[in-house]
Amino acid sequence: MAGESAHAIDLTGVMVEASLQPADYLIVAPVVIPILFGALHLMLRNRSVNHGAMAIIGMGLLVLATFGLLQRVMDTGPVTMTMGRWLPPFGISFSVDTAGALLAFTSAVIALGGAVYATATATALEARYGFFPFFMLMMAGVSGAFLTGDIFNLYVWFEVLLISSFGMIVLGSDQRQLDGTMKYAFLNLVATTMFLVATGLLYGMLGTLNMADIWQKLNGAEEVRGPVMTIATLYFLAFAMKAAAFPLNFWLPASYHTPKYLVSALFAGLLTKVGVYALLRVSLMLFADQREMLALFIAWVAALTMLIGVLGALAQREVRRVLGYLVISGIGTMLAGLAIGTQTAIAGVLVYAVHSMIVMAALYLAAGIMARLSGTADMAGSGGLYAASPMLAGAFLILAFSVSGLPPTSGFWGKFVLVKSALEVGAWWLAFVILLSGLLTTVAIFRVWIFAFWRGGPEGTPDGAEAWTINPLGEKFRLHASLTLGVLTLMTLGLGLAPETLLSAAADGARGLLYPLSYIGSAFGGVGQ
Amino acid sequence: MIIEVVAGILVIVGAFFALVAAVGLIRLPDVYSRMHAASKAGTVGSGLMMIALAVISADGSTAIRALAGLLFFILTAPIAAHLLARAAYKVGYPLWSGSVADEMSLHDPAEK
């Protein structure tokens, strides 16, 4: 009955004609599932429903869907669903390649962990005032951003995840949160608005919004007259700001240490990476030539971001603020890969992105447990955690090695590939900065280790320092937190010990980003064509 | 066509009243007096222009909607003026010094 009409109209080249299989809905499921669940959460907000369990189910489905999607993309290459049957470039389509699916899957896994953690930590008040809907819709935004093939639609998903993140970051409204949210919100709004401005101008120039179509126009036979370079620059800056690259990174250190630890973890794990992904998608696929011209500039931004980030981390007392700056430093590392721009480098960026998502989320969760145990976020004011919680210490240690880029963790592979690619193109200094920032990261994170974990113990400290008080953890919290943290930690370790799957997926993703012909083909072929 | 003439006249008269209201806004001495201009001349002005639209459309449903809209303005304009004048008075915005009476201050000394 669809599309039936009294008039006989030739729809060839307008609508997808062939029918599609239910399995093709995997392409859109990562967005629809969290939207439906988020709406359900809201509809049932006053019911005595177990919101945590619902969230776990929702995120579990999300993981399954993204996993299925990743499998499919790795098997068959990029897949596309044209919403409403309107063929590109007229309708909106989701075009998924390995890069997008890989990141969507990783974020779904982290989100599932987050849901498990939240089940033990979200208060009744937080559940009532929208923690779970925020969380769900944020995931819809994240997934949408990874999957969409339409530049304006990308903007919409950015906004969805942004407003949800506002809700999450300010939930609880303590004074620090309010101040942090002010800065987070205004600056992020500016960034997203710049993205929209660039998109409006791009539309004015090319008359299209579908990314595959944009690619065709920009890489077509006819040379595009118009300010392509400037628009590319605008996109670059807007996404660099979303990703928290220097000198547009202010919002991150100003806010990431203020909300619930879980929220920080999700933000650090997911949000900046969406910016990185958008940067990759836009600057590698759409503006490949322009990226080439901007490469040196990007390299400078990358180097400064790495160094400013890690120096910032060294300047902190609060564990979460250390981590916030390490997130920035990691962004710089990924930007370095973008500056290099070879297939190896982009694969390195993807590996590093997946690694960073897992590790930063896990580190923030670990910081949350640390804060609960020692009753303070100040590393100078805590200690004795090594004795108090060997499991936490072990997890933190592995994560610390991982964030420093040391083997045998996932962090090593990302850095290694990036260093390799930098040296391959002769960017000695960039390789040096990557390595130097790695070393300084080691110092920064192990300062935390030394102060909070190794220093002293409750049973007496030869240094003459006081013994640290350790607060007991609730049984439920301990279970959920160690489950989440444990799984994430094992993931970084597992990816370090058995990296080949990730490496080859990343290589595939990089190939797709740099040589998007199959993406383009899929976009215009559509599912079921 | 007669409709066009009627519409033309309505449009001009309506716009004239709008202008009158605007001038009244400038010339009248205090906020209370200015409200007279805004609520009466303003409503009549825009109302006439809506009627012009109703007339020219020569379409029943459009005309009825235009008139319904007019009714809506007539309903809301006085309430808006009342609320604003009342609020201004209650919080102490003074009448123009040339005002000749203020029986409200005698009866209801600015209560909240």
Binding site: - | A22, A38, S57, R65, L84, Y93, P94, G98, S99, S105
Partner: protein, 112 residues
């Protein structure tokens, strides 16, 4: 004179008058001097816009603009209500008290 041409002319005249009204009303919004003055002027501005929409409707023959006018009347009303309640809750602002007294003088000066 052709009636269509007359309508055209009428519309042109109305546009001129309305444009003038816009500016005059805006003048009141900008100079105040008091908050109720500005609010009232904003309310008036909505009225002028409604008229403008009606005239555009007449001019272009797109009568669908009538619904916009209705909705605008509604939200304009809402804005005025909100400001009235704002004035009521907040009382006179510091600045208004000064300007009010300087310009208008004692409130009951003319009261009998």
């Amino acid at each position: 004179m052709d009636t269509t041409a007359f309508l055209e002319l009428a519309i042109q005249i109305a546009m001129v008058l309305l444009t003038l009204s816009f500016f005059i009303t805006c003048y009141r919004v900008v100079v105040g001097p008091t908050l109720p003055d500005r609010v009232m002027a904003l309310d008036m501005l909505v009225g002028v816009v409604i008229g403008f929409i009606a005239v555009v409707g007449v001019k272009t023959g797109y009568y669908l603009y009538v619904d916009i006018a209705i909705a605008l009347g509604l939200v304009g009303f809402l804005a005025t209500v909100a400001f009235a309640r704002f004035v009521l809750e907040r009382g006179m602002s510091e600045g208004d008290r000064e300007t009010g007294e300087r310009n208008v003088g004692e409130r009951k000066a003319g009261a009998k």
